[in-house]
């Protein structure tokens, strides 16, 4: 072992020397791209790998953004609630849900095969080029595509393949509730929908949301004032007897 070490060191030095001289001997012009003659004989510079990636990415990005037409972010989070924006948001929500509470369909293409990378954008929510990727309204689950489907990617469609059955559905889903109830004018409204799977209020009512922004976007703890519904949240009914009122003697 003691004798092997100098031999090894000598070997390394020789290899390094060869590498050094080979490297410096290379002509500098080989580092760039060689001009290529096209059909017309003119010489053009071939695109770099980076250019090609950027071009492919821009195309894909434009397609994805077009698919997210309805997801435009609000311009100004401080503006008072705009009835037109509210109506547009409700319409957009209903376009991707069969009924209030249905998991929304995904408005863009997804990888059909592997575990999806949904959390990259939807864990915290994201605004890209004026389009919103909403924050998940619920806790983390692993198999996103179990509940959320998409019609933007999928199997190839055969042109001219006629449906073999009625494609009409007479289902009319429960609409989004418009507002909760107030105990008196000025009281904070109750949550008009279930809060199970909608724990993250910001997903729909937060600064990246459009149309459903609360009048007080700076408040963080929503359920401090807005009561959820035990029944809509399917809280189990207890078997406890109702509380006894105060008994006053002699009444």
């Amino acid at each position: 072992m003691r004798r092997a070490a100098p031999v090894l060191l000598a070997g390394v030095a020789v290899v390094a020397a060869i590498g050094f001289f080979t490297g410096t001997a290379r002509p500098a012009e080989l580092r760039g791209y060689l001009p290529v003659a096209d059909d017309d004989g003119a010489l053009r510079t071939a695109p770099t790998q980076r250019d090609m990636e950027a071009a492919r990415y821009a195309e894909r990005r434009a397609g994805q953004l077009a698919a997210l037409e309805g997801m435009a972010a609000i311009e100004n989070a401080d503006a008072p609630r705009d009835p037109a924006a509210y109506a547009a948001t409700i319409a957009q929500r209903q376009g991707t849900r069969a009924y209030d509470g249905a998991p929304p369909t995904v408005p863009h293409a997804v990888d059909q095969h592997g575990a999806p990378a949904c959390l990259a954008c939807h864990a915290e929510g994201l605004t890209v080029d004026g389009r919103v990727a909403p924050m998940m309204s619920h806790a983390r689950f692993e198999s996103c595509l179990q509940c959320h489907t998409t019609s933007s990617s999928g199997p190839p469609r055969t042109a001219g393949l006629a449906p073999s059955m009625s494609e009409v559905s007479s289902f009319v889903g429960l609409r989004d509730p418009e507002h909760g109830t107030r105990a008196w004018p000025g009281a904070p409204p109750t949550m008009p929908h279930r809060s199970f799977m909608r724990e993250q209020c910001q997903s729909c009512h937060g600064a990246r949301a459009r149309g459903l922004l609360p009048g007080h976007p700076w408040r963080e703890s929503c359920s401090q004032c807005h009561a959820p519904s035990g029944t809509l949240d399917q809280q189990p009914r207890g078997t406890l007897a109702p509380l006894q009122g105060l008994r006053v003697e002699g009444r």
Partner: protein, 806 residues
Amino acid sequence: MDRRDFLKASALSAAAASVLARGASADDTDPLDPAVREQVGSGVTWDKAPCRFCGTGCHVQVGVRNDRVVAIAGDRQAPVNRGLLCVKGYHVGLALYGGDRLTRPMLKRGDTHVPISWDEALGIIADRIEGNPAGFAFYGSGQWTIPEGYAAQKFMKGGLSNNHIDPNARLCMASAVTGFISTYGVDEPASCFDDLEAAKVVLIWGNNPAEMHPILFSRMVDRRGRGEALRLIDIGTRRTRTTGFADDYLEFRPQSDLAILNGILHLLIAEDTYDHDFVERHVAFRREESGPDLMGIATDFDTFRASVAEYTPERVQEISGVPAAKIRMLARLFADREQRITSLWCMGPNQHTRGTGVNRLLHAIHLLSGHWGRPGDGPQSLTGQPSACGTAREVGTLSHALPGGLVVANPAHREHAEEIWNLPAGRVNGTPGAHTVEMWRRFSTPASDGGDIDTIWVQVTNPAHSLPNVDKLFTPSRGIPGKFLIVSDVYPTATARAADLILPSAMWVEKNGMVGNSERRTQQWFKMVNPPGEARDDAWQTIAVARKLFDRGHQGMRDKDANFIFRVNDAAGAEVPIWDYRHYYDVNVDEHLFEEYRRFTRYKHKDLAPYAEYVRARGLRWPVVEQEGVWTETRYRFVEGEDSYVEAGTGVQFYHSTSNDGRAQVWIQPYVAAPEEPDAEYPFWLCTGRVLEHWHTGSMTMRVPQLRRAMPEAYVELNATDARRLGVENGDLVRLETRRGSMDIAAWIDGRGRPPEGSLFVPFFDERRMVNQLTLDAHCPISKQPDYKKCAARVVCIPRQAGSRE
């Protein structure tokens, strides 16, 4: 009374019945909750129901307003799904509202179907039965509710003394049944879904739960989000969504699962890592006597050891393509007593020409290694239909079976059935009837060539689409004079369109129902909305035909006391005319049928609780045994402390052992080649199956816009290398050919699944792409379940035309 009066009357009686039946649980709204006042003010009421689709048995909450389903929510009190659903479950309510619901009975005249009255329809069925009693068959389903299946079972075996009744479940889990019966002496999984949280390792055998049992899959993988370690090992023939979550992927050549399992058994013995104690106390060895048979004969450990000796890791690698190191890895997992290993399987091992064998071996690896009976440690077979277990297996709507795990061939069992049904001795026929493939083969064969079945009544299934090799088993019948097909369904499926008589059915929450999932969990729901038009309950249809025969003097429709076999009395003891649909919901017919059926369930320790217990619960796992006044379910069968039928001190006791010594059987089950394998002429393996969005033949889910848009059309998955070699691009139409038929279909490369080179996959949901014109009707000789998962095919390129693709 005109139709409107009639509908109003039935709506009123239904509402009254459901309110009465609900009793104490009717008060499920909180009057103090303003949000509820809002919802209730808009007329929405919520009630529980199990999902209509697969065998997982999730519960949903159904929101109903103005006699229509308007919303669905996951049921948070349901132990199976805890508030979560899959995309089919979230849209299950939409399945009722396709634009082409069947609403009137219709008779085929020439090329069209003309509406007739219900009374005419019932008369026609009675005529067919009276005309040729032995030529009548009933083809049902694992989607039959328990009372529906029970009514059909009693009608056929108790009323007509005719055993030609079989369910489509024959096509999906018959091999699981024979696997359980020949291993434990009694059917159905001993373990339960609680294993999914307790397991450290889950082996997934030829199964894709990410798409087929999404809730069970999420129960496993969501553990990772909570920081728990779970090792998922996918053992399959193509890469699927499940593979994307798996730690290991072992890709095997189709059919060689037999070899892999034998390889594990061999190593457990060769390395002496099997569980000596468990084997000594709880295991006996068995082999088939001369050919494939269900019960076989006893053998010994040395014979067993010799039988698996040839399956060395290297030999298994040669047969299966799975590296020998991976076989060793599996065997060493089983060798480790500290592991908690759950095996999951469904159609891969079941739809197999050695289906019984693969099922036996799956039990064997757990039994030999002692990975059996602890939470998270055992074999768990899954089912694909909501009541494949509850109805097909437990009610026993199979050609050889009677309710509660009894069989027609056993005189004591027949006597027991006749006693419960109050029938004269000898009424139940002791000869098993025609199983599914046999039934349809005889229906598609002229009487002159031995095709003695001339009438089949189909309920809740779509055989023209789902039978294997349909152009042999189904299509010919439509051209043979004298063959008469009756179909009860909700939509004009391929089968309904080909029927001579169509009966419109009520579905899901348009009727009362009970089903049983794949962990022995029996579930119940009430009717919530009225069916459209003249659509009526399947159980009513069966009872009404029985009554028609009774009125015509048919002796079989009378019990020993000359009473109608489906007699139901009201509280005062007077007979309720339930055969008249206006009175069907005067009483809860489901409850009456269930309470009678329940008497069968104690014979084989499959005890069910009274109906009212299921009204309260989100399902209960049998045996449900009354202990100190409380009906208690069973999580783990045959395990002391869990199963009350196990004797104290035994630890584990297989109390239905076929060797009569409390032991389970470990079978010798060698590898054999598939009956049709790829060759020079047909060089590809062809596999069929399901996708996440669609359920079975798509007759419901293809009518749900959200599901159809996500998965609008069937396709063939092709490996990218094969595609390049064939010159096929993504979306190109190709022609698939087998020895049985051919079909044009679009190719999807690197799509939802990725088959290896030389393999194809086609989902079967699309009735415009009937892959069952290509599949093989070869079946397991013991279970009679066909193999939809492998046959030989070839791909022929169709020259691309301008505009042939979108």
